[in-house]
Subunit: 336 residues, 2 copies
């Protein structure tokens, strides 16, 4: 620093060192149903404390903190939801996202970030960390149960892209999770038949959801490792959602070749991914997702559109297109 | 949501749920001396990987992540420091703050935020959490060793406010920590004598620093509980830094009364604190500090200027004034 350069502010350093507190505060607010209580009319720390079964002091400090990170507003000592928290964090909203905190802040997921330095050194999930792609990893049951709200807009968009109201439609849904993508197609296309592949414990969640959606008679499952299960053949559509980012490009290409072989000629594959721009540092949420893959997988990554297109084309697909979503993910569509 | 209200973006929800990753990424970058390596001329992920002893893949993903949170910039595949990271996160800078990560991201400190919901329910540090104000808590040794860089500008400012170049100056420094505040006064005022109070293990750090600053012949210590130790009397200056926020207002007032009694008439007390505005939600860093006190103490808080003035005046002080710092803290000065 020379005398002519003014010292910059260190706020970004403090903000970043303390950033973990933001996640913890949001998790607590969700656990206490604080946003819902405000939406229902409790506005002061004492009214909120009563409604949430918490101390007045703790509630006041938590609400003030949430104001400082833009999740609440405060006027004359009364707290108000922001447009974002009203839409996504009040249980009265149909777009409620609060259940996601359960998966996204699981001890296993956060624990991997405690060993991030080791992951950077080694280039992948550190010894002692939770390997996302280990066989039958129970995190995927929680993923299936918790992450549905984030997937709803994607499921609608995918159904719009592939569902035909008439005619038979044979769909297989790889790493089906909560089953939403296939189920939504089955709801839209009365003659669609779905085959779902995932770990057995995860498919139990998908089957519950298929039952609740009244499509269970057209819903079949094939439990096991997506790389090893026999998919069968003659499918019109393959769904590959939240899957490719766990693996390196050659593995993705080999896998997509197997998918391609299960499709009819002219059949389509649907890929749902976090897709950063070619610069790899924007948009923020997709670009940041690489770090989660570094911390939790041996060689996964967030792939750019060009990289995904290359994986798809190497596997024998063509006509690769990208479709934006209101969530931070992107749908890719390609044809055998 | 009605049809006329466009759906807001859920990005702030995702950003907040993932915020803990920012702290982890910064901690890893500090541990790997990544910012220093960039400052020394390594700019690509492969050059940085070599310099930091890490994998190319891990280094690339970490650097890209740091770009997304404003701690690095990227152009043509080469990484650059920002003005903030050059000033505060390169070890080549005299204002290096990297050591703070060690204290601020200690497992005990972060662990308290894992039990934040309980703390909100109960109104203070949760059972099983690390009580900051427990006797001889070893976190304070780490605080003393790690947090010095943040305290340097405050120590200079305090010395400017109280040190007289001439004349005797009897100073006592309560919860002295690394000892910096008293040591800086001793360096500025050749006839100043310092008495430092803190837990015994913490005072060992202060004594090391007094020795390194060549003021050890005018540096005495009184180990023990700041509420119980006999301070002696006849002091010109009392330093009460990073202390009051751990306790509730009546405890602070009682404590300040004890401090007042140890001062000469006309003697001054110096208080260093995170001081939020009366709205309690700004400025962000001081306002957010309340949550750390909720999670780690039975009844601590960040106090506004009016609250601190009231504590000081109730204890018999007058002429209370506030003095801004380049760090997110504020110095208060008052006279017996």
């Amino acid at each position: 620093m020379t005398a002519t350069q003014p010292m910059p502010s260190a706020d970004v350093v403090f903000d970043t060192l303390f950033a973990y507190q933001r996640s913890a505060a949001l998790k607590s607010a969700i656990e206490l149903a604080l946003f819902t209580a405000i939406d229902e009319g409790a506005r002061t720390s004492s009214a909120l404390a009563k409604r949430c079964g918490a101390s007045e002091r703790g509630t006041r400090i938590l609400c003030d903190y949430l104001c400082t990170i833009g999740l609440l507003a405060k006027a004359d000592g009364a707290y108000q939801l922001t447009p974002e928290t009203a839409a996504f964090l009040s249980q009265r909203s149909p777009a409620y996202l609060g259940t996601m905190a359960r998966f996204l802040l699981r001890p296993e997921v956060k624990g991997n970030f405690e060993r991030l330095t080791e992951a950077v050194r080694g280039g992948g999930v550190a010894p002692g960390s939770d390997n996302n792609v280990a066989d039958e990893n129970p995190i995927w049951v929680d993923f299936a149960r918790s992450m549905m709200p984030m997937m709803v807009p994607a499921a609608h968009a995918i159904a719009d892209l592939v569902a035909g109201a008439e005619g038979a439609l044979k769909v297989f849904d790889i790493a089906a999770g909560q089953g939403l993508f296939g189920i939504r197609i089955a709801q839209r296309s009365p003659r669609a038949e779905i085959v779902a592949v995932d770990w057995k414990a995860v498919l139990a969640v998908a089957e519950e959801n298929a039952q609740a959606a009244h499509v269970q008679d057209r819903y079949r499952t094939r439990p096991g490792d997506a790389f090893k299960v026999d998919y069968g053949t003659g499918y019109d559509v393959a769904l590959v959602t939240n899957f490719l980012h766990h693996f390196d490009p050659p593995t993705c290409t080999d896998f997509l070749r197997k998918v391609q072989a299960a499709l009819k000629p002219g059949g389509r594959v649907v890929v749902l991914e976090f897709v950063p721009n070619p610069d790899r540092v924007s948009p923020p949420i997709p670009a940041r997702f690489s770090l989660t893959m570094l911390s939790g997988t041996p060689s996964g990554d967030a792939y750019t559109f060009a990289e995904l297109r290359q994986q798809l084309e190497s596997a024998g697909f063509s006509d690769v297109s990208a479709h934006g979503l209101p969530t931070p993910q992107t749908v890719l569509l390609a044809r055998r």
